[in-house]
Amino acid sequence: MLELRELVKHFPAASGSPVRAVDGVSLSVAAGEFVALYGPSGSGKSTLLMLIAALLEPDAGSVLVDGREISALSDRDAANYRLHELGFVRQSLNLIPGASALDNAALKLLGADLGSREARRRIAPLLEHLGLADRMSHRAEQLSMGERQRVMIARALSTEPKLLLADEPTGSLDTERGAQVLSLLAETCRERKVTVVLVTHDQLAAAFADRVFSLRDGQLIDAEPDKGRAPVNAG
């Protein structure tokens, strides 16, 4: 479903030698698979996600989703890809203050050329599924951190994407709530056969992933041995 081939992304640095944020990463992820990428800060996790989301162009290599080259998309096609084929869950819980959970979750659907009423109607079951049935009309600031993250997950899944990218989704949550959110995320995605690529530095995430990889200095260097398949090419 997702294939990364010798992906490279370097950034210029003040010191002269470029920062090798992603350095020859190759990875193949099957449809419906849940993959976790570990790594410390600065290991290139977020850059890798941005490359998969077509928010950055790689210096070399390619990103293929269902066999289609993503890294060469035009701005418009890249936006269309993110809107319909991709969900993105961020660490920052940028809900619109003052707006309800329902409105916040329906935000992406509004962009998908759905009328606002239809968008709200369509997002409601997902919010119920994520345990927010009685919180839908609550304003963003009235929600707990865990609830806010569930709203973000609902927004990401609202357009029924094939691929979900999650960038430290539990970074703002305590361990217990983090586990709850990850569990819900994994369960929901499995039900919907959504492929998940999760980057995190939280060891707990491994419990929910089918495969786990380590990312260090821009390279995939290791895999959790007890998590099934090894990477196709780990660096």
Partner: protein, 840 residues
């Protein structure tokens, strides 16, 4: 993206930034209101004369016009009517008059005509009954509002002062309806031709013939008219009064437009400050939308709806505020222009005024919303995070270079083309804004060095905030608001006070020509431009305390598109023209030449236009063209189209009339002006149309008129100051309020409330101080530019005084008041609970 979806997105977000949006609405509304009210004031002045003229002349295309109020023989009417191509001709006798009712008196333009005007003229003329105009009775009609002002609301006999006498006539009110665009208070009276001829003692005379030429025969008719006119009469378009008025009102229009542009800029900065408060939210929204797959176009659509709603609400509020302002504050007082034109005080709101104001509001909203987010809109997302520093970061040298270019352009305008002063003010404003980032950097750098010498926690914290790149856009916008406000205030207030001093000096120079003045009554005769039949000079000479009575002559004369003020002091006048008003030539020699006769002092602007130099001969287009030589060049003596001074005998020759327009009465050394004035009034009798004023009273009247003429600038300046102070205080206060989380962190780190409060005040004072100080410095240059434009281009008398007090005063006032206001939210923010640092 569907409009309903964009609207929904707008609705769900608005609650989170309602306060900031309201600030933005208020800011844009203030700009729109100032723009709208000043536009209305300008269009009201020009529109009043235009509508009145068109309302009378209608579809008549040409006029044959006398050069003075004595007119020409009525028999010319028949000759004109017989000309090939003339479809119709209407006779008119126009006189300045004073109507006196039970509640007061008003100056009016008394138009005598016959029923043909009611048939052929415009909307106003057709309002008058043909039967009425055809009568020989002494009846006349006035606009309702004028009639009400003098206490004559129904048909009644009232007094008309015309020439030196008073006569009774029957008033029929209701000529022009009431209010709005009906020209309800235009100072005009319509009467049968024969009645005006009788009242004015000008039987068989006309001052104008309006005529309609057959299609495609205008050139032929005009040529024939010019043959008839010779060098004694004028042939002009029927609505030529509007051209003359536009020329006269030009400086007023320009100054108001300039100030309203600066006002609009301050209003925009107010809005921009408020909109900057919403930038973090909008930026985060854009990033989220982008990650969710919104295209750039969809994001722009979302932002444009923000701008559209903001612009529409702010424009609507601005129009309402502007309407209020134009009614309460900027009443379109015609001031000195009413001395030579029948201009009313009605407000005329044109579609153009609304369009300009709303267009300005929508533009401000669009720029305010989009400009701070241009990187997010234009650049690829991969670059967003790389751009954490402001856009001018690293560009300071380029901005300084651009500022230098702007300053150079301003200097070139100052030296070579003061006519383009408005462009100069704009380039100066641009230079000011371009210099501001560097000035802030400079002050922050200097503060850092000073801080090493004198350390203190509060100033250190203030310095950190000032250095913070994250705050820089907002800091710059706040400083820019203060800078523009002080710049506008200093440049225009200094120019205004210099002009006021010049006008006062000019009035003093003229009024000091006599101890007591006797002129025809009426506001429109403030310049002593209406003549009367001399029947009292001998009697006045016998009044105890009177040493001498001299005859002063004067009037307005149309010279091409200028309605020029002609002053003709008596040949023996000690100072026929004040030395302070001579801008080129020797004042003593000029006075001697004037006394000798055959010479005239003319305004420099007229001389430049006609290519005249001192000593050159020219022909004055007086009723009887007179050749004079230029004795010296003067200011315009406070009358924007310009002035000409010659001696009273030359005037009598050129106008073929010995009628004076004032008695200049000199008193014996021991006589009291007040007492002698009383005796003079008694001598003139109760039925006289002359009013008697001491030199002091006349000067005070002229000073007040000059101040009134410039009052709109003072009013707008005050509003700009208030708007700027509010804008800066609101923006600064909001910025501080949004910083509470960081302040809470600092409290956790051990900083006390007092230290935090002081730090906030330091920061505010430094920021506003830089902006206002730079504004004051540029304001000094601005006043130089405007002063030169007033003096050189329009020839106004300008007496320059040091602008430093105005500059320092404006700087201190705006900075101090804004800091004082910010002290309150600063204090409240400093009281933030440290616990908010721990959200869960």
């Amino acid at each position: 993206m569907r409009l309903s979806s964009i609207a929904r997105l707008y609705r769900v977000r608005i609650r989170a930034r309602l306060t900031q949006e309201l600030f933005a609405v208020l800011g844009i509304a203030i700009g729109v209101s100032l723009l709208f009210s000043s536009q209305v004031a300008n269009t009201s002045l020009n529109g009043s004369v235009e509508r009145l003229t068109n309302g009378i002349v209608g579809r008549m295309s040409l006029q044959l016009d006398a050069r003075d109020s004595h007119g020409f023989e009525e028999r010319l009417l028949e000759e004109v009517q017989r000309l090939p191509g003339v479809q119709a001709a209407v006779p008119v006798l126009e006189q300045d008059a004073n109507v006196v009712g039970p509640k007061g008196q008003e100056s009016v333009d008394l138009v005598g005509t016959d029923p043909r005007l009611a048939r052929l003229g415009g909307g106003i003329a057709r309002h008058v009954s043909e039967v009425g105009l055809g009568s020989r009775a002494r009846v006349f009609t006035l606009p309702t509002e004028i009639a009400e002002r003098i206490g004559a609301t129904s048909i009644r006999s009232i007094t008309i002062q015309l020439g030196s006498g008073s006569k009774h006539a029957l008033l029929v009110p209701g000529l022009l309806g009431r209010g709005g665009a009906s020209l309800g208070d235009s100072p005009i009276a319509l009467a049968p031709l024969r009645a005006v001829q009788t009242l004015a003692g000008l039987q068989g005379r006309l001052t104008s013939i309006y005529l309609r030429a057959a299609p495609n025969r205008s050139s032929l008719v005009r040529a024939e008219l010019e043959r008839i006119a010779g060098d004694r009469l004028n042939v002009r378009p029927a609505n030529f009064a509007t051209t003359l008025f536009r020329r006269a009102a030009g400086p007023v229009d320009q100054s108001t437009s300039l100030f309203s542009a600066l006002s609009a800029l301050v209003g925009f900065l107010f809005a921009f400050n408020a909109l900057l408060l919403t930038v973090p939210q909008r930026r985060s929204l854009i990033e989220d939308l982008h990650l969710d797959g919104y295209t750039r176009r969809m994001i722009v659509e979302v932002l444009l709806l923000d701008a559209f709603v903001l612009g529409v609400i702010a424009s609507a509020l601005g129009l309402a505020l502007g309407e209020l302002l134009s009614q309460v504050l900027f009443s379109s007082d015609p001031g000195y222009l009413s001395f030579a034109f029948p201009v009313g005080e009605q407000r005329i709101v044109t579609a153009w005024s609304v369009l300009v104001a709303v267009g300005g509001g929508m533009l401000a909203a669009t720029v305010g919303v989009l400009a701070p987010l241009r990187a997010e809109i234009v650049e690829r997302p991969s670059r967003w995070h790389a751009r954490s520093s402001p856009v001018w970061r690293g560009r300071t040298p380029w901005m300084l270079a651009a500022a230098l270019v702007c300053l150079l352009a301003t200097t070139l305008i100052l030296v070579l083309s003061p006519r383009s002063a408005i462009v100069g003010v704009l380039t100066l404003t641009l230079a000011l804004l371009l210099c501001l980032p560097a000035a802030i950097e400079l002050v922050v750098g200097a503060s850092g060095r000073l801080h090493r010498l004198q350390a203190g926690a509060a100033s250190y914290l203030a310095l950190i905030e000032l250095r913070s790149r994250a705050n820089r856009s907002r800091s710059l916008a706040i400083a820019a608001t203060g800078a523009i406000a002080v710049f506008g205030t200093v440049s225009i207030e200094s120019a205004r006070s210099n002009l006021q001093r010049g006008l006062d000096a000019s009035a003093h120079g003229i009024d000091s020509g006599a101890d007591v003045w006797a002129t025809l009554a009426g506001k429109s005769n403030s310049f002593a431009t209406s003549s009367f039949i001399d029947s009292s000079a001998e009697a006045l000479r016998r009044v105890p305390g009177v040493r001498a009575v001299q005859l002063y002559r004067g009037s307005f004369l149309d010279w091409l598109d200028r309605r020029v003020w002609v002053l003709a002091p008596p040949r023996g006048a000690e100072h026929p023209v004040a030395a302070s008003q001579i801008v080129s030539g020797n004042p003593l020699q000029a006075a001697a030449r004037l006394r000798a006769g055959g010479w005239a002092v003319i305004s420099k602007a007229i001389a430049s236009e006609r290519g005249l130099r001192i000593g050159d001969a020219f022909t004055l287009p007086s009723p009887r063209p007179t050749t004079l030589r230029v004795a010296a060049l003067s200011t315009n003596l406070g009358w924007s189209p310009g002035a000409i001074v010659l001696n009273a005998d030359d005037y009598a020759r050129g106008w073929s009339s010995t009628d004076p327009s004032a008695y200049l009465i000199q008193l014996t050394p021991s006589a009291s002006a007040t007492v002698v004035s009383r005796r003079i009034r008694a001598t003139l009798g109760p039925r006289t149309a002359l009013q008697v004023e001491t030199r002091g009273a006349r000067e005070r009247m002229h000073f007040a008129q000059a101040a009134q003429g410039l009052s709109r600038l003072t009013q707008i300046r005050s509003l700009v100051l208030i708007a700027a102070i509010l804008a800066m205080a609101a923006a600064m206060g909001a910025m501080i309020w949004q910083r509470r989380a960081r302040l809470a962190d600092m409290k956790v780190d051990g900083f006390s409330r007092v230290v935090l409060w002081r730090a906030l005040l330091w920061e505010t004072a430094a920021l506003l101080g830089v902006g206002c100080a730079l504004g004051a410095v540029f304001g000094l240059y601005g006043q130089l530019l405007l002063g030169r434009a007033l003096a050189v281009v329009n020839g106004f008398p300008v007496i320059e005084a040091t602008p430093l007090p105005v500059a320092l005063g404006s700087f201190a006032l705006i900075t101090a008041v804004a800091v004082a206001i910010v002290a309150v939210p600063g204090y409240l923010a400093a009281r933030v609970r440290p616990s908010i640092s721990f959200p869960e």
